[in-house]
Amino acid sequence: MSRSDVAGVSTQGYPFELSEGDEANGLASILAMLLGQNLEQYPDRIAIARRVRRPVAVYSTDTDTSATIVFGTDGATVHNGIVGRPSVTVMASVDQITDVSQLKMMGAGLLPAGFFTKRGLHVLGEIARHRLVVKGLLTHTATALRFIALVSVVE
């Protein structure tokens, strides 16, 4: 199967490949599609992706599934489950993932402008109450912010 056969995965610039192919879980598939489409629409974010040097994992608390994104120089691979030693792990519900991906990020992904909105303050509140957990937020802050910039659907 060629990259172009994989729905939603960027076919140029900075592709996201599913390591498990057709056996990818729903979360991995959605992340690959979202990230690939975002980088196609906003190619300036490719530089942000290249600066994420450690894996980032997402655990969907509603569906009890996880996926890990390993970023490289020319593309990324999305794995089922937790792979390697992610520096950042986001543990969130579907609604929280939806909220986080609508936060505007600026300054090469390091300026979280979207946190200063009603939705952003809600996300921060969820983090403060440990309902939304971002492991590595304090120790790998840049990676966490860059990842939010990559999944953000906001220009």
Partner: protein, 136 residues
């Protein structure tokens, strides 16, 4: 007892239009209903069922069997019968079914699903108000 329509049949689609268009939670769930004008397909490939619909400014203008070229479709969304039934009954939300891999985006921007997640979830649950014969 109200007549039941075979799921995703032309008659079911026709019956679903007024249900969806009067479903306030769906309309309120759009990021901007006034600009939501798109053609899309909802399918149940495992049963060979394909429907095409057209939204105009947040309202369903048409919904029936296949009628548009695939290139005209903004979204193509597929799921198994049990998944559609679960979404219609409200047992599971569309967003959760999507992340669980039960509902699949075959074509279209994920950003649309994210920005209109509220409308998507409520749109699917409104199907539960359509008298449906799920034996297809």
């Amino acid at each position: 007892m109200a007549e039941e329509f075979k799921f995703f049949s032309p008659e079911w689609c026709e019956a679903a239009i007024p249900v969806v268009n009067s479903h306030e939670a769906t309309i309120q769930g759009f990021k901007d209903a006034s600009t939501f004008s798109h053609r899309m397909a909802f399918t149940c490939a495992e049963r060979g069922l394909v429907t095409h619909m057209e939204w105009k400014e947040g309202k369903v203008a048409e919904w029936s069997g296949p009628q548009y070229d695939e290139s005209d479709l903004w979204l193509i969304i597929d799921a198994g019968l049990a998944t559609w039934q679960a979404a219609a009954s409200g047992a599971s939300e569309g967003g959760k079914l999507l992340l669980a891999g039960k509902i699949k985006f075959k074509k279209g921007p994920m950003s649309a699903a994210i920005e209109n997640a509220g409308a998507f979830n409520n749109f699917l649950s409104s199907w539960g108000m359509v008298p449906t014969d799920w034996d297809v």
